[in-house]
């Protein structure tokens, strides 16, 4: 990768940028076709029970309605790995909002009216949707999301805690959160005989193709899934969601091209959410700040459809040196929608709790919170004992403190005041694991001097096309404008999904290998290329997924300055600053956007985003974008992202770590800690809306 003029590391402009700013970019629901029909789902209106009857008579009598799919007439599917995809296969209703019918019609208006006219009757059963830390059905699962063990323990954390000089025993609560990408989950499906073509909004077309192939029992080579442009996902489009199955069923049943774009209000129930997490933390330290015992226990919920356990206690296994350490996850299966991935599952809520508790500990110790973290820097990964491939958290903290102007800070809570505003600042650390999956790619040298690089990567807004072209250019020793890159179709060489901050590492690895191989071949070739050019292929299986002797994580530090209005309890973030150590930054322009985007979502998690499970009805009350408050322009002030150079040879050929998720990790804690600094009040439940903040200020 070292060269005099590397393209990697340059701030190349997004390759699809022009299409996006002119409106020419086509998303999954935007596929013109004269025979197109539109589908609209019918969600269950009971929290638990079974469908006893679906009366579609009135719906079918409406103009334009073509079909009403129910569990009685929908195509039978092979059993899916993901039970949330077994839609319309049986009458069971595992939670409110589960789809019980689908209307297909000539126009979107006809479909919506048809769905409103379907009459469904139910036999209901008592339901329980309320998570409590003492829930009698809470259990310790075998593992949490991503295969982490649910429980780890080293030493004797309880005894070490009991005998410690300085202790913090505290609890935090993160509510359910919703991904809400701006593009709702959407699919356009068409069958040509036994050939299936699907345009889908997902984060990985290969996994969608393989899932459809299995469910509909069609060979994978007769299924094409295209995800050319994807309007965000943040985990909620990581694997196929019911829209892709329903649209494909509807297309098969009606013989039409069918578009199903899920209505926004349906999303919270069917595309996954960040499960609520109840945290208990016990930290013990010597008077000099060195941690002696860390216990992080998390209770969360899952649905009765499948077990998904938000791995919120796992960052404590990575962060700080403590001889005694326990992490534990408990889960309760409730009659709730199935939770799933949302940007930094585990790390985002876990580091909110851990980094808030660390701030409490700094207060108990009378110690600067930056210094407290530096004092507890471990030599090896605390849980595994593995050496870090690279770890520059201390550098991030110091660089951030310098850039933020931390040095002059009066540590006394409630020491900053500007008229009716209390002003405070806070810090928190961040971490996210380095991951990669096997991927394939091919690279072709064309006679006209261009190179065509193909990989089924998905650009969900990360700039995948751009950075992969940069990687290819360097491996080929060619200028960037000679690289053509094709992504976003399952007909391209298979590749993993965009998730786990691993897309660039996984895809880039195979692109790098294919291009390196092609460059070698070209070097040994003389004379003109044949008409079809010269091609090289790569498959990183065995390398990208090899077990590493190194503990590999990205780290970061977040600093926040907030104002708290003493009249209303309204909190605003004036400044947010992040410094990251995330390996080599391959494209600073798009990387900065990802960091800032993650921090913005963390700001929402801290201040505006919260969802409520309605105990009586079993659904999320804040089901639309008027009531679920993602941050608006006016909420987001100065947000800066910086990084420290990190040269880590133990990652992948590019030397990169993932950057898509670490921005959200720690942001909420930094803001919460700043609010404590501003007000002297420790809030332990998110979001920090006026209904919580003002009464606490007045009670003080």
């Amino acid at each position: 990768m070292s060269g005099i003029r590397t393209v990697v590391g340059a701030p190349a402009e997004r390759r699809e940028g022009r299409e996006k700013v002119t409106g020419a970019a086509r998303y999954a629901a935007e596929q013109p076709g004269t025979d197109r029909a539109f589908a609209w789902p019918v969600p269950a209106t009971v929290a638990r029970g079974r469908v006893t009857g679906v009366d579609a008579t009135a719906a079918l009598a409406l103009p334009g309605v073509l079909a009403v799919l129910t569990h009685d007439n929908a195509p039978r599917l092979a059993e899916p790995d993901d039970p949330t995809l077994a839609v319309l296969q049986n009458p069971e209703v595992p939670h409110r909002g589960w789809f019980v019918a689908l209307v297909v019609a000539e126009t979107p208006e006809d479909a919506r009216a048809g769905a409103a006219a379907v009459r469904v009757t139910y036999a209901t059963e008592p339901h329980d949707v309320t998570l409590t830390a003492a829930h009698p059905e809470a259990y310790v699962p075998e593992e949490a999301n991503a295969g982490y063990p649910a429980r780890t323990e080293r030493g004797d954390p309880d005894r070490a805690f009991d005998s410690a000089a300085v202790r913090v025993d505290t609890a935090y609560r993160v509510p359910p959160l919703h991904n809400h990408p701006m593009e709702p989950h959407a699919t356009t499906a068409r069958w040509d005989g036994d050939r299936l073509t699907v345009h889908n909004s997902g984060q990985g077309a290969t996994v969608v193709r393989d899932t459809l192939s299995a469910l509909f029992e069609v060979p994978a080579e007769r299924v094409t899934v295209v995800s050319e442009h994807v309007g965000g996902g943040f985990g909620s489009k990581g694997t196929p969601r019911p829209d892709v199955v329903l649209a494909t069923m509807a297309a098969r049943l009606t013989g039409r091209t069918v578009t199903l774009a899920l209505p926004r209000r349906h999303l919270p129930a069917v595309v996954g959410h960040r499960a609520p997490t109840l945290h208990r933390l016990r930290l013990a330290a010597e008077p000099d700040g060195r941690l002696t015992s860390v216990t992080h226990e998390v209770t969360t919920h899952t649905s009765r459809v499948k077990e998904f356990v938000e791995q919120a206690a796992t960052p404590a296994r990575v962060m700080y040196a403590a001889p005694h350490l326990r992490t534990l996850h408990r889960v309760v299966a409730l009659d709730v929608p199935s939770p799933s991935w949302m940007r930094a599952p585990g790390e985002a809520p876990g580091m909110y709790a851990l980094e808030s508790a660390m701030d409490e500990l700094a207060g108990e110790l009378g110690m600067d919170p930056v210094e407290l973290r530096i004092v507890n820097e471990p030599d090896t990964e605390p849980d595994s004992g593995k050496p870090f491939s690279s770890r520059h958290l201390v550098e991030c903290l110091r660089e951030g403190a310098y850039r933020f102007g931390w040095a002059g800070r009066d540590p006394l809570p409630r020491s900053g005041r500007e008229g009716p505003l209390l002003v405070g600042s806070g810090v928190a650390a961040a971490t996210y694991p380095v991951q990669a999956s096997p991927s394939t790619a091919d690279a072709r040298a064309l006679p006209d001097g261009l190179f065509l690089v193909r990989v089924n990567a998905t650009d969900i807004g990360t700039g995948a096309r751009t950075v992969l072209a940069q990687i290819a250019a360097d491996a080929l020793g060619a200028p960037l404008d000679r690289i053509r890159i094709e992504v976003g179709s399952s007909d391209l060489p298979s590749a993993p999904l965009a998730g786990g901050s691993s897309g660039t590492a996984s895809w880039g690895w195979s692109v790098h290998e294919a291009c390196t191989r092609l460059a070698e071949r070209l070097a040994g070739h003389s004379g003109p290329l044949p008409g079809e050019g010269m091609v090289a292929r790569a498959d990183t299986t065995g390398r990208a997924d090899a077990v590493s002797p190194w503990a590999r994580h990205a780290f970061g530090a977040h600093f926040a300055e907030v104002t708290v209005d003493t009249v209303t309890g309204e909190i605003r973030v004036r400044r947010l600053l992040g410094v990251y150590a995330a390996g080599r930054i391959l494209n600073p322009r798009t990387a900065r956007s990802q960091f800032v985007g993650g921090m913005t979502m963390g700001l929402g998690m801290a201040l505006t985003e919260g969802s409520t499970m309605d105990a009586a009805f079993g659904d999320f009350t804040e089901c639309d974008l008027a009531s679920y408050h993602v941050p608006a322009h006016a909420d987001v002030g100065a947000v800066e992202a910086h990084w420290v150079d990190e040269n880590d040879p133990h990652l992948n050929p590019m030397g990169s770590k993932g950057i898509g998720e670490i921005g959200i990790v720690g942001t909420a804690a930094a803001i919460g800690n700043a609010v404590h600094h501003a007000t002297g009040v420790r809030f332990r439940e998110l979001p920090l809306t006026p209904d919580r903040v003002l009464p606490a200020l007045l009670a003080r």
Binding site: T45, V567, A626, A632, R692
Partner: protein, 330 residues
């Protein structure tokens, strides 16, 4: 959304006739709430009578110093009117505190008054709601009701009125002009919206088929110090958790005139008559303001999860009253 007939009226008279001739008709203004509710299935009109091209978009200075704003004047234009900004600033501020630039460009003055509650149970046709379906029950009273009413609610309904604009109109003694087949009439803005009682399906005093033709801002509050302040969950584009509009005139060291209205606390903009009564004649001191506001809010009956609204409304009111009287207090 079910299909519907569409009629574009040439005059107010024609509109009222078209409405009367079509059972199940609704009037269409900017549509920002009606079309939303039609998509949700909450509103199911058989016909829409489009009022947007009626000649109700004028703004007139009346001889007595009041200002008549046509019902079809868009919210953004209303907020930008120099006359409104200069003489009834609370109204401009209230309108600009609501919705978004795009919505304000479409929403009309009349439509803003007639918008429906954003209670999530009202908006979800699969749940009980006495406002949407009388007799079906109230999901909010024992359900998720952080945003709901603390004043004037009933066993039947705990919804709040969502408008910011209407709160300012109530405080400013504005009047709502109505046209119906029986003729024209005026209703005080503060009395235009109802409390739910046992008829939560009725939001306002408007009669079937009546059209809001305009709003009159009276000379009595013109040029008086007035302001609007709102607290919300995010910095913009969110409904109020609580809000207050106030107009205050201090003469010779005592409050000579006071109009105060709260938003997001009740089924209607809550005109704080008790507080006003306590203030008029009193010196504009912190104690007087606290006494007056507490007198008003003593009537609050918070639900399980919305008690925060009372101190929030109190703090907003004290802040606005203090600011409006700052020059008279120094």
């Amino acid at each position: 959304m079910k299909t519907f007939d569409y009629v574009r009226a040439a005059s107010v008279e024609e509109a009222a006739e078209a409405y009367a001739a079509r059972p199940g008709a609704r009037y269409l203004g900017g549509g920002t709430n009606l079309v939303d509710l039609m998509k949700l299935g909450v509103e199911r009109p058989a016909a829409l009578v489009d009022l947007t091209r009626l000649p109700l978009d004028a703004v007139e200075e009346l001889p007595d110093g009041s200002l008549r704003v046509g019902a079809m004047v868009r919210n953004s234009d209303l907020a930008a009117l120099p006359a409104v900004r200069d003489r009834w600033p609370a109204l401009s501020q209230a309108v600009l505190a609501g919705a978004s630039g795009q919505l304000r460009n479409a929403a009309t003055t009349g439509g803003n008054l007639l918008q429906r509650t954003r209670c999530p149970y009202f908006q979800d046709v699969t749940k009980p709601c006495n406002k949407r379906e009388p007799g079906s029950g109230c999901g909010a009273r024992e359900g998720v009701h952080r945003d709901h009413a603390v004043l004037g609610h009933s066993a039947q309904c705990v919804a709040t009125h969502p408008s910011d604009m209407a709160v300012a109109l109530a405080a400013l003694d504005a009047r709502v002009e109505l046209y119906g087949v029986e003729g024209t009439r005026e209703v005080a803005a503060a009395d235009f919206h109802r409390l739910p009682g046992d008829r939560p399906d009725l939001d306002t005093e408007i009669r079937p088929g009546e059209i809001v033709t305009g709003v009159v801002l009276p000379a009595s509050t013109a040029g008086r110090p007035s302001a609007y302040r709102k607290a919300r969950d995010r910095a913009s584009y969110a409904f109020a958790l609580a809000s207050v509009a106030a107009v205050v005139r201090v003469e010779s060291g005592v409050v000579a005139q006071a109009g105060i209205a709260f938003g997001a606390l009740a089924h209607r903009p809550w005109r704080a008559r008790r507080a006003e009564g306590a203030l008029v004649g009193a010196a504009p001191t912190d104690d007087a303001f606290e006494h007056a506001v507490d007198l008003e809010l003593a009537a609050a009956e918070p639900l399980r999860d919305n008690a925060y609204k009372v101190p929030l409304a109190r703090a907003l009111a004290l802040d606005v009253l203090t600011r409006l009287t700052a020059s008279a207090r120094t």
